[in-house]
């Protein structure tokens, strides 16, 4: 069970949120210029780390706004919350590394 810190509404139960997949996967400015491998990479390839992951969530049953989480996929500990468009905090320096 996750207790997720929405940047606008505060700590809320996981059931109010929807998971939006890996963060920072950006669409190419000119998709037509990509070859099949690059397009397939954008569409399907994912990091799937055992450890820290940057991921998008939406507060579906609350403010309905999107944000990013930095979360550990083994301990489920949430290390940081930051807004869409912002860069992920440097986990190693800000949080003492992978807990």
């Amino acid at each position: 069970m996750l207790l997720i810190p929405c940047p606008w509404c505060g700590q809320r139960d996981e059931i109010e949120f929807r998971h939006g997949g890996e963060a920072h996967v950006s669409r190419a400015i000119d998709p037509a210029a990509l070859d099949d491998a690059a397009w397939g990479d954008y569409l399907y390839m994912r990091d799937n780390p055992k450890g820290l992951i940057a991921e998008r969530w939406v507060h579906h049953a609350g403010c309905r706004r999107w944000f990013n989480l930095l979360r550990d996929t083994v301990s489920h500990r949430i290390l940081a919350v930051y807004k869409i468009g912002e860069k992920p905090p440097d986990a190693a320096s800000d949080f003492g590394g992978d807990p």
């Binding site: 069970m1 996981e14 997949g21 569409l43 399907y44 799937n48 055992k50 996929t73 301990s75």
Partner: protein
């Protein structure tokens, strides 16, 4: 290998059952093997068995981080079926089901296959149409499939609430009579014993830490029990496939999620078939011990924690009580999760990876148990010949570049 039979049982009963040999040896790793398989679950063990049996390759090691069969092989809900919509899926799952049907004799080990029939419920007009379409597609592929109307569903599974005012009205169901369940531990033990008898080294408590690559070709693995050289390396690590492939610098289109299941206390026989509902994501059967074995959906977020969130189970139980109101008095005894690797099209990835000598059998997501014999069989062929088995060819990693996906997410339903 000690052959099992009524006579060997009687003979050893007289000796007080003290002369049974262990099912497999506990060998120390050798410095070199032709083929190293990473992951000692059902798929890895089956692959090793078919490599030795069908392709005459004896120099095979199966490396398992813990004891064999304690990952997803021992955590699934043991459902077996082959009624998938798309041709490529239908063929590989039917290949697997046919192997299941002869598996106890093949391995001289009772895998307790029980072909009790699998019902897939339809709760809306749209689902009825999809179900009928799937029945027709299955029949064209030579797979037994029937569509049952609500009265026939009630006759086949009397305990199910098929009344018109049910929260999830049953408008019909597909039935695959050859589908059913098997004993998942026995599958791991049976394949391990049979592979071991053919010279495969099953090495437990041996975690792979790194894959060595030289000149674009794999050369071996670094493990918690030392360095092992190998010509070919086959990954069968389920939820950890991404982690293992990354050791060789390969990125995969997989996401690891917890998949939860739970069992009730034991009761007398009440349910003699498997019931699945894609719309409410329920699948349930009754074990030989009398426990109801209930599968839930995946948790939405990536995780390697082998535990899921409670709301998933809560939603699961709410749905199952609508379908089976009489289950409301049952207490649930245990729940657990396994880490499953979900691919974008809910179909597996079987074949070569971009590093020479490296192979993957993964992406089985929530439905890999039923495929254990078939996956092992076609994967062994793919590794031994360095060329995909015809049944495995459509499932190559290249489909995520070519776009030729095998989209079973909506087709066979989300539940596996």
């Amino acid at each position: 290998m000690q052959r099992y039979s009524i006579f060997s049982l009687a003979r050893r009963a007289i000796g007080g059952h003290r002369s049974w040999a262990p099912l497999w040896r506990k060998p120390a790793p050798k410095p070199r093997y032709d083929i190293v398989i990473i992951g000692g679950g059902g798929h890895g063990l089956a692959t090793a068995y078919y490599l030795a049996k069908e392709h005459g390759i004896g120099s095979v090691a199966v490396l398992e981080k813990g004891p064999i069969g304690l990952g997803n092989t021992g955590r699934n809900t043991t459902i077996i079926r082959s009624n998938y919509l798309w041709d490529a899926s239908a063929r590989i799952y039917e290949h697997s089901l046919k192997l299941w049907e002869g598996l106890s004799a093949e391995l001289n080990f009772n895998v307790m296959l029980s072909q009790r029939g699998v019902l897939n419920l339809a709760h809306s007009i749209g689902e009825v149409r999809e179900a009928m379409r799937r029945v027709n597609a299955n029949r064209l592929n030579g797979i037994d499939a029937e569509f049952l109307d609500p009265a026939a569903v009630k006759r086949f599974c009397p305990i199910l609430d098929t009344s018109a005012d049910a929260r999830y009205p049953v408008l019909g169901a597909t039935l695959q009579r050859r589908g059913g369940v098997a004993r998942h531990d026995a599958v791991a033990w049976g394949y391990a014993r049979a592979a071991d008898a053919r010279g495969v080294d099953i090495i437990e408590d041996c975690e792979v830490k790194a894959i060595s690559v030289s000149g674009g070709r794999v050369t071996g693995v670094e493990t918690s029990r030392g360095t092992i050289a190998a010509d070919k390396i086959a990954i069968c690590a389920a939820g950890h496939n991404s982690v293992v492939a990354a050791m060789a610098g390969v990125r995969l289109p997989l996401r690891s999620h917890p998949l939860q299941a739970l069992v009730s206390e034991s009761v007398r026989p009440v349910l003699d078939c498997v019931v699945m509902s894609n719309a409410v994501h329920v699948y349930v059967s009754q074990s030989d011990k009398g426990e109801l074995v209930i599968g839930a959906g995946i948790d939405s977020f990536n995780s390697y924690a082998q535990r899921g969130s409670f709301p998933v189970i809560e939603a699961q139980m709410a749905a199952i009580l609508q379908l089976f109101p009489s289950f409301s008095r049952l207490r649930m005894m245990r729940s657990w999760a396994g880490i499953v690797d979900i691919s974008p099209d809910a179909s597996p990835i079987i074949g070569r990876l971009p590093v020479a000598g490296l192979y993957l059998n993964g992406g089985w997501g929530t439905g890999g148990f039923k495929a254990t014999p078939g996956a092992g069989h076609v994967f062994a062929h793919t590794i031994a010949r360095d060329s995909p088995h015809p049944l495995a060819a459509p499932f190559a990693l290249e489909r995520f570049t070519s776009g030729a996906l095998i989209d079973e997410h909506g087709a066979a339903g989300v539940a596996h």
